[in-house]
Each structure stands twice: as C-alpha cells, then as structure tokens.
Amino acid sequence: MNHQPFRKPTGGNIDRSQPLTFTFDGKVYQGYSGDTLASALMANGVKLLARSFKYHRPRGLTGYGVEESNVLVQLRTGARSEPNIPATQVELYEGLVAESQNRWPSLHFDIGAVNSKLSGLFPSGFYYKTFMWPAKFWPFYEHAIRHIAGMGKSPTLEDPDSYAHNYRHCDVLIAGGGPAGLMAALSAGQSGARVILCDENADFGGMLRGRRDTIRGKPGPEWVADTAARLAAMKNVRLLRRTTAAGYYDHNLIVLDERVADHKATPENHEPRHRIWHVRAKEVVLATGSIERPLVFADNDRPGVMLTSAAQAYANAHGALAGRRAVIFTNNASAYAAAADLKAAGIEVQAIVDLRDSLEAPELKIAANANIGVLNRHVVVAAHGAKSVHSVTVMPVDSNTTPVGEAQEILCDVVCLSGGWTPSVHLFSQSRGKLCYDETLSAFVPDKSFQRERSAGACQGAFQLDACLHEGAKAGAQAAVAAGFATTAADVPRCSADAVVKPRLLWAIPAPDHLHGGKQFVDLQNDVTAADVGLAYQEGYHSVEHLKRYTTLGMGTDQGRTSNVNGLAIMAGHRAEAITAVGTTTFRQPFTPIPMGAVAGLNAHDHVAPVRTTPLHHWHESLGSPFAPTGQWLRAQGYPKDGETLEQATMREAKHVREKVGIVDVSTLGKIDVQGPDALEFLNRVYINSFSNLAVGKCRYGVMLREDGLVDDDGVVTRLAENRYMITTTTTHASAVMNRLEYLLDVDWPSLNVHLLSVTDDWSGIAIAGPHSRTVLTKVTSADLSNSAVPFMGYAEIDIDGVPVRLFRISFSGELAYEINMAPNATRTVWDALLKAGANQEIIPYGLEAMNVLRIEKGHVVGGELNGRTTADGLGFGKMISTKKAFVGKVPARRAGLTRDDIHQLVGLVPTDEKTRIPRGAQLIADPKATKPVAMQGEVTSQCMSPNLGHPIALALLNGGRARHGETLKAHSPITGQTVTVTVTNPIFIDPQGERLRG
C-alpha cells in the first residue's frame, strides 16, 4: 500500500517524512503531507475518479485548483459528510475518507452510464419538449428526473462544527497571493498601511508553486517563502492563508471565507471550522491570477485529458505524474515550458500538437532543449479510450484551421490542453467593474473600475512573471497612496522569462466525419457539448444568458470557470458576431462555494434571533411555567400544579383572579419616557384622544393610528410631572412605536422640544388584580390607597417593603387592579412581598394564558384584533376620537373605505349551545354548505373557555358587527372540520359597566 506508482522518487513540495493514509471509495491509499486528495490519487495512479452529471461518463482530474470540474467527492462521513468537494481543494490529512459521487453501484460499473447510450434523446432542454402526456404522469417523470440529477448527498445529521464571523477594517486588501499579490503586499506593507493579503490556497505563491520559474536566481517557491516571512514580520500586514475572497460588495466590503480547520480531520481546541471575514477596505488590489482554458474536441472528457498547467503543477509541486506518456495540445506558447517540466519529471512527451502556423524562437528552443517533437499546424481531433485515454488522433489543419489531410494516432495516457488563459475577473466584475475583450490575449480583461480597486498580474491580462511582479508592486503602492499613505513601489526582483501568450483560436475542433465524432465537451460538469451550443443557437436561444439557461452551461459548482469563454465563443461563431457582442454572463458571489454554516456564523439555531427575559424569569422557571415567545420576549404562561395541564391551570388562575387576587409579571410591556416642554403637544399629535386635561398623577388609555388612518397600537399614558409622561405600548410593538415616534420628532416636527427614551428595561412590572388586590397592597405599603387617594386611572409613587415603586391604578382584567413598576433589581422583593402579604387572601401568581382569558372576557383588544386592518371605530374606540384636535391618521381615517358600514367591527361570540369551543381562526359565515366562493362576514380573532362565565366565548371582527348583536352565524373552520353556531354579543362579557375596576 506504500507503493505510489506515479510518484517521482524525489522532488515536490511535499513532506515525504510524513506519510498519510486515506481512503477513496473504500480503498486505502497513501500520500504525503503537502498533498491534496487530487495529487495523492494521481500519485497512486487512480484515474477514474468521477461520473458525469447527465451521461455518467467516466471522468478524471482536469485541473489543479478551484477550476476542477470533474472530480467532486463526498468528503468525510456521518455528521461531517460534505458533498461536491473538488478533490483539488482538499488537503490530505491522516485518515481522510472520500467517496466518488453520482454513480451506482460503483464508479467502475455505473448503471447510469446507459444514459450515455441514449444521449441522442437528451439534447439540451429535452425535458421542455416531453414528459407532458399524460399530464398526471408528470410527478412520476419528475421523481425520476430528480433522482438522476443532483450530485453528492446532503448530510442528514446536525453539523457538529462551529463557525465564526469577523468584522475588520483595513487600508489595503489584496486578494490573491501569487507573485503579483505578494509584490503588492510588499509595497503596501512598507507604507505602514494596514494590509490584509489573502489567498485561497494552503500557501502563497499562486502559479509559482507549480512552475519552475526562478526569481533572484532561486526557485520561485523559495522567493515566496522569503517574501511571506518578510511580510509576516510587518506588524501592519495580516496574512491569511486558505482564505478565499468570496464576494466583493458595495462600498468596498469584501467577504472572505477562511478555512480554519478543513485541512484537519476535525477542528481542534474549539477553533471554528470556517471564519467569514467582513473586511471594509479603503482600497483593494485584485491579484487573482488566471486559469488555463481547455480545448474542445471529440471525447475531450476522457480521464487523462487535463489542463497543461495542472499536469505541470502536480509534477513540480507534488512529484505526482499524470501518466507515463503525454501529448500536449496547445494554441499558444505557454505550454512549452510546461512540456519541458513534464519531460524533466519523467513523463514521456510524445509530441506538442500546436494549432499555430509558425512558432517563435523561444518556444522552439524549449522544445529542442527538451527533445520534444512539435507538430505545428496540427490539432487533436479526438481522444480515445474509455476509463482512461489511450491515444489521440491528430490531424493537420489548413489555413482556415479546418482539419485536412492524414490523421495519425498517437499513443498516450495523458493529454494536456492549453487553449490560452482566462483572467479571473470575478471579483472585479462583482465590484461593478466593466470588462473588455482583448483580441491578442483572446480574453476578457478589466476595463473601467467603479469601486476603489485595481487589478494586477494575470487577472488583468499580464501573463508574464516579470510583468506580474512589476504590476503587483505598482498596484500595491498605488493602493496605499490612495488610502492616504506615502510610498513607492517595492523593488522588483529579476526573474526568469515567460512565454508570450498569444493564442491562435479554434473554439471547437471539428472532427472529420469518418471519425464518427464523439461528444465535444464544453462544460464538463454539466455535460454541455459544442453541439448543445449549436442547438441552442438553432432554436433561437441566442443570448449568452439564454444559452446558459437552456444548456446549463456554466451553472455547475465551478460556475463555468473553464467553459464559459469557449461556450460563448462558439455561440459568437454561430451568430457570426464578435465575442464582445455576445458578452459574458454575470459573475456572482460567492467566488467559490462556501458552507452555509459559515455564512450563518454564530447567528443560527437558538441564536437565529435573540431572546429577552424578565427579572422574574428564573422564578417562573422554578415553578415550572412554560414560556411563550412573544416578539423577542419569553413570557411565563401559567403555573400548572401537580397533575394539572396548562389549560387547567389557566382556568383555575383566571377564575381565582376574578374571585380573589393574583399577580402577574408584566415587565415586557413597552415603556417610553417622554419629557420636555412640548411633550403634551407631541402626545396630542400622535394619539387619537387628547391629553390636554390629563392632570399630573393621572393615567389615560390612548390609541395611536398609523399614517394611513388604521390602528397602530394602544397603551396607557401617565402624566408623571408637568412636562413628563410615561407611555406604554404592547409588548410586540414597542420598538416599532419607538422608532416611529423618533422619526416624527426628528423628521417632521423638529421644532418640538421633546426627549424620548425607551425605559422598558429600566422598570419592571407586576400587575395585581382581583377584588382583594387593594387589601393585599395595603399590607405592604403605608401609602393611602383609598379610592380618593388613588382612584381608577390614578397614579402614585409609593414604597412597597421599602422599595420605591410607581403605582398605576389601571386594569387589563376588568377587576380592581394595579400595575406596579419598580427598579428591576427590586422586582423579586416586591413580588415576594406581595405573595407573602397576600397569603390570607389566597393570592396566586397567574400567567400569560390566564391574563389572556381575563382580557377576552373583558373585551380588550390585542394582536388578533390589532391586525393592521382595523379602524379605531371598528375596535370600539370611536368615542375616544377627538374632534377638537388634529392627530396623525385623522384625515386618511375618513376615507370611504375606512368608514363604510360593513367594515369589521369588534363583537363578542357565544356558542348557542353554550358548550362547544369556538374554533380558533374560524370564519363567520351564514351557510357552510353554500357553493364556493362563500362570502365571509367576519373572523374569530381570540377565543377561550371562560371559567367565570362557564361557557366558551370569543372575540371576532364582523362586518358592521356592532349593529348585529343577537344574530346567529356559523363559526366555520373547514381546515379543522369544526363548525359552531354562535350568537353575536357585546364584546365585553364581564362587567360591561366597569363597576369592578372602579370598586
């Protein structure tokens, strides 16, 4: 198992002293530290690594980095399993487990491969043309389609790893740490600017990692290591390895995805698996390099057909050999050095097949020195072999690049393709930058920038090392200067020369008829062929965007990194238009896929939204109360005794309060302190009723409308002092009301001198309600609580057990009741004091549910009734509406639609049998058997069993309901299959005259 037949005995940037064992498709292999899963599989000679999406064709490695489109694996197992991970992006670690995808039962014998035989039936978009008959069969067809599609499998268990976010600011962010990025970092770093340099790979160096360039006479990787060390020594420079610049957003926000622990079996010592950085950069340097382009010919997807630069990098950086015998197929000069590298690594290079007519001296020299034969003006027209390539057919081309003349077959187990280079302009485009097409390079390159960024190196079309170093140095300095620092470009080292990339184009190599042309793949991942592009054209899908969507070209996990340009160029050919006229599809975030867990960071699961608790939370908890989320708050629902259900407890509590006394935690109510000389004027403008005659020490119920005249919220206004009020809001509306009031003061009425402060958390609240509430209170305070001292809607500042409190004589339940506000730390003292003092009166705590029952019995409106579509009059507040003053919403509330007779008005409902619970969410109708659509006259908004009346009740909104008391209707809930005959009543079921609360 130690045998790695395709590993060079020496060389490469791997640590041979650290062998690592891993498993692929159940078979155990060995690689070395410094390997990727891809390089290790290559070293082991495993060529068949994947099956294609649609046709299940055998596939092998094609790339070295993020461009890999074939070999996606299911990595790890169990809860840590992850689908669709490119083997090129996986750093090897001890014990790694990977499996191939999209095949059954095995990679070598895949039943799905029958699709390949039937491929004639599956051109692009075939599913739009069929599966329509009989219509009811579509679900079965669809079921089958879905199971064939998809690639890897979703994990089914919860992810055990954690993720982090990180917000940072810097002066210069550099994306990409190849030669250009490193030089940019040197320039910017020496200026003192705060610099972040990130690269998606395990180490810096970019293309230098896989080539044999020299810088300052030393191998590239040595210069990289020196430079990284120099940068690491600069305090103002932050180096981020394994960190992808995933998205470029507005106002120079760059999102980075750092793979903190993906190169390990599991994260260690509580480190997050990934960390998402939100970097706000003053200036950005894009140095994201370029990616080699494949060439399109028949059966160009056979395992062993790959990018030249990839084969070169595997050999140089890992000592891993793509095969024994290679054919290089190129249309430009950059493949020659690579060919020489392969040869030096021990691969027999059978020939360089070069599409160009005449070659230049430098590349000829490389070939001659390496003793490699060159077939210029030739093309590879087809590859042969099934699970691995075993030969290619090569033909000469004429001056129109049409293959003519005699074909020859060359034996080989690797075919290296070099169709030119595609600059990685993703981030530039995301920054809204405009691209232009460079004819010489036959590539899209950055043109006009819109944000504070610049591109340097191969990503902007500089394909020579020397130029990359210079450009990088210059861009780094420019960025630092633009960010306000003084500097000049760092010194640029001398380096070896690169070939000049001037591809001669032939976007798809026509296969002569006698070869019965195999498929010419453009997008390997989505199995899109040159013929598919042709079909799209033929059927009118001419726009690149139609091409993409009709054929799925470029829609895979690699987002068409190696296929888009070829595809659109083929389309341009059909359209007989310039490539510029065809244009590109849109580059979108993320640059490469990022785990959803990382995107969520800490803000998922139980932290997806915050929760708020009251000062009595633990007390409620200790009594076993369940909690109901209400907005952000958790509210205690009730206190079931042994053997009691919550529902039973609710009935008991609600009855007890009306008969005796109870206390409830009402801390969650919104509270706003309103101060200033214009406070009264302000309140008069925002409430429908007037506060002009509200005396200091008095409370008044108030209702606010929205700008459109419908009810917004209600609450109690208390005048604490001449120019000071406290207003309450409903729990869920508190922040919206606060925001709106702040808006009105700041934007519309800046001349009003009023200060607002949300004091919800500064005052906790306890309500005490029931006929004995005064008796209990009197025991804990020396203050005079008589009806004359503290009448209904009165207010007093008193002491309870030594705690200063605000006492409001208000009632939500309709009973004699008070609300007590106090400093939060004193809540428990007051609560305990009341419970203790009330023992003789049999005081009990009651919860949200009982409170709700009490308020339904009393006909008070809350959420279900304050549904944003009700008018003040409809809810029964008509008499409160001031006719003397202007207030927000007054004029719009008079519109015809809001004053019509059949508008929703609040009513009560009682089941005519006085027994059956009225279904929640029921609609009020005349006849459930009527033909649909049935006219709905109203809706049940709140319902409960009333323990005090002994029968169920409900509140409802009914068209013109106030005039319909006494009518019977059906409360109909077809979704739960319930129908109850109800009688319309006054919504105030208990004490309509309000004698109890004044008592």
Partner: protein
C-alpha cells in the same frame, strides 16, 4: 409551431437534432402595432399570448430591453401558490393556479409545474391562529388547504428540526397541496413560443425610453430602436414600473427594492416540498436539478440594482440552517438579486389609467411569478376590453385614495413589509 413531444424528440434524435426550428423569431419592430406590451417577462409574454389566444388580437409587440425572461421571471424562487386570506387575492391567485395546472399542455412546453405542496410553518400559538384563519379563508374561496401538526410537517420534510429547543419551534403548518414550483425560465420561453406562433413580435434588446401621449391618450413609444406607434400600451416591467410610469408623468404607490435569492450546490433529493417560515421570512425548496433554492426578505432600501447585500444572505442562510441543521455543511453556490415593484399594500395593480390606452400591471412584490398566467389572462382582458376582468377589479389604482387597500399583512402603507 413545431409540436414538441417524445415522438418529435425521437424523430429529431435520428437527425442529430439538426431540424429543430426556432422557438421564436427575432423580428425587427414594425412601425405600428395595435398593442405594445413593455417587458418580455412572464407577465408581458403571457399577456401577449392571451391577447392573441383569447381575444384574437395578434398585431402585438412585446418590447424587451434585455433578453426575454431576464427580469424577475428568470431570477425568482419559483414558488407557485394561492394561499391568501383576503378574497381579492385568493380568487385571483386560485384562478392563476388553475391555469398553471394545464399550462404545459396548453403551451406545448413543459414548464415543469411541480405540485409538491407549500407549507407555511407556524411557530407560535398566534401564528397557528393566523394560519388556520387563512386556511379557512382559502377553502371557503374554493382553494385547497390542509392543517399539519408538527409530526405531519416532519413527515413531509424529514430534515426539519421540530424539537422544542429551536428558537422558533414548529407548532404546525398550513399546507397547500396543489401549490409548488415551476421551472421559471421555461415559463417565459413557453409563453414566448406560444405568443410568437400566434403572430406576436417579441423584440429583444429594445428599451422603452419614452411614452408618447397626445390629447390624453397614448400614440406610441420611444425606444432604443426608434419610435414605434401603438394604439394601446401596457406595462409589464415589474421592478421598473415606477420608472416607466414617470415617462407618462405618473406617480405610483410603488417603490423598487432588491430581493435576493440563492442556491446551494446540487445534491440528491433531500427536500420534496416547499417550506416557508414567516417568523424569519425564509422560503426554501429543492429544484429538479438538485440545488436548494432559498430566499428571504428584501434588502430593505430602494434599489434598481440587480445586486444585493451580504447581511441579507447571512440572515436567510442562518434561518435555513436553523430549520434544517443538516444543511450547514452544504455550500452556497450562487446568489443574485432582482428588482421588485413593491406596492404600498402588498397587492398587485392591474388597471387602465387616466391616460387613454395606457395600462399598468405591477406591484407584484414578493410574489408575482405565481401570478404569471393569471396576470396575463386578466390583463389581456383589461387591455382588449378597456375594462377590468372581474378578478382584477379590486386591483385598481384608486383603491389607495379611497381606502380600499388589500393589505394581507396589515403592515399599512409601506412598500417593504409585504
């Protein structure tokens, strides 16, 4: 029109698919049309299709500034449903849903309408009330609705976390079984092909830059390809409704906002229904190709950029993995945005205007894809007869002035809360 079927597919396979004709022509604009529809999204194309098919009006051009189907039709999360509380909405969307049910056959183009059901999760008792109330209204209006308890929800979406420890525990869900998803691009292409076959000119890369009005009535449009005359002009430009209205000197109760959507990498089937949660404003389904398709709330500021903001993506993804903890290790593959025409009550506007021959179709907010056939149907009626169809009477512009808003959410006059 060349008929599509398994037989035509097999026949064409024999000739290597060399004989398929164009799905639509690419004509140059004529000088004059009876009707010009601005915007070749699903709505514009459906309108043209039904003008021709239902009303015999075929001298029609659909003008598109980009490529057909490239607006919101080509970038939405493809949810098709009719699960509304208010009758104006419910009856209209139910009509639309019925059209969806026969659309592939009608168009002879498989739009892959997949009735996999849409579940609205309820996380609190108040939501259970609200969802059941809505379910009841749906049923009474003639649509379908089913209440699921949390175990029944789980049975349909097995990877959903229904434990009580969740921040938003699942109490149940309102299912509309006939709801589902459709292949968004195919909808535009199918209508385009159908309209084209009936004589409609679809003119791409033709941006409308002005509306010509004389004596209180339209006479034509200015475009990037020259002036074109028309007796009637209808907008169907989704997020650009405000911009076009300004050309006719109208102000509308509409703002343009960006909504983002996103997909994960494709995986084997793991979610066979559509799940939506109002608490976090998230919706998720799995496409036939295997990606999870996810969306959430607007970016919440006016925008005409088809481009969004990262925090919103984070929020959507966070709530998705809170509901489906197993998706944490799936990777987000692509995100994008669309410009939405947000109306001030969250309901659409399909109406004639005070300018003779000028019609408006807009205000689709989060949910106009599902309206596509229904919208085309009633809009074609409105344009052909110069009077609304019964189903869009309520969607008139003057409802705001007179206080007859159709406000499902009860959020009031805001363009971004619906």
């Amino acid at each position: 029109m060349q008929k599509y079927s398994i037989f035509s597919l097999a026949r064409n396979a024999l000739t290597s698919h060399k004989n398929w004709g164009e799905a639509w022509r690419n004509p140059d604009p004529k000088q004059e049309y009876d009707v010009i529809i601005i915007g070749a999204g699903g709505h514009g194309l459906a309108t043209a299709y039904y003008l021709a098919k239902n009303h015999g009006i075929t001298n029609v051009a659909v003008l598109e500034k980009g490529y057909l189907g490239g607006g919101n039709t080509g970038r939405n999360t493809t949810i098709v449903r009719a699960n509304y509380l208010l009758p104006e909405n419910e009856l209209f969307y139910e009509h639309s849903l019925k059209l969806w049910e026969g659309l592939s056959q009608d168009l002879n183009f498989n739009v892959m309408f997949s009735q996999r059901g849409v579940i609205n999760l309820a996380h609190t008792d108040a939501q259970v009330d609200a969802h059941q109330r809505r379910g009841n209204a749906m049923i009474l209006n003639g649509a379908d609705g089913v209440w699921l308890n949390k175990h029944e929800v789980k049975a349909r979406a097995p990877l959903l976390d229904i434990s009580d420890r969740a921040r938003f525990p699942i109490k149940g869900g309102l299912l509309q079984p006939r709801a589902g998803t459709a292949r968004h691009d195919a909808v535009a292409w199918g209508f385009a092909r159908g309209a084209d076959a009936r004589g409609v000119d679809i003119i791409q890369n033709c941006e409308v830059t002005g509306i010509d009005i004389e004596n209180g009535g339209v006479v034509g449009v200015q475009t990037s390809r020259g002036a074109i005359k028309a007796k009637k002009i209808g907008t169907a430009v989704a997020g650009h409704t405000g911009h076009i209205a300004a050309m006719a000197e109208m102000r509308l109760p509409i703002e343009s906002h960006v909504l983002q959507a996103m997909v994960s990498e494709p995986v084997k089937p793991c979610l066979d229904t559509v799940v939506t949660s109002g608490a976090t404003h998230t919706y998720i389904s799995q496409s036939d190709k295997g990606e999870l398709v996810m969306g959430g709330d607007l970016d919440l500021y006016n925008s005409y950029a088809q481009r969004g903001n990262f925090p919103r993506i984070e929020e959507v993804v966070a709530s998705v993995i809170s509901m489906f903890p197993a998706f944490s290790r799936l990777r987000l593959m692509r995100t994008w945005g669309g410009v939405m025409d947000m109306s001030m009550d969250g309901s659409p506007i399909i109406t004639k205007t005070d300018i003779n021959g000028f019609y408006i179709n807009g205000g689709w907010c989060y949910g106009g894809f599902k309206a596509t056939p229904g919208s085309g149907w009633v809009y074609a009626h409105t344009i052909a007869n110069d009077t609304p169809h019964k189903l869009n009477e309520g969607f008139a512009l003057n409802r705001f002035e007179h206080g007859y808003m159709i406000d499902e959410e009860g959020s009031g006059a805001t363009p971004n809360a619906h």
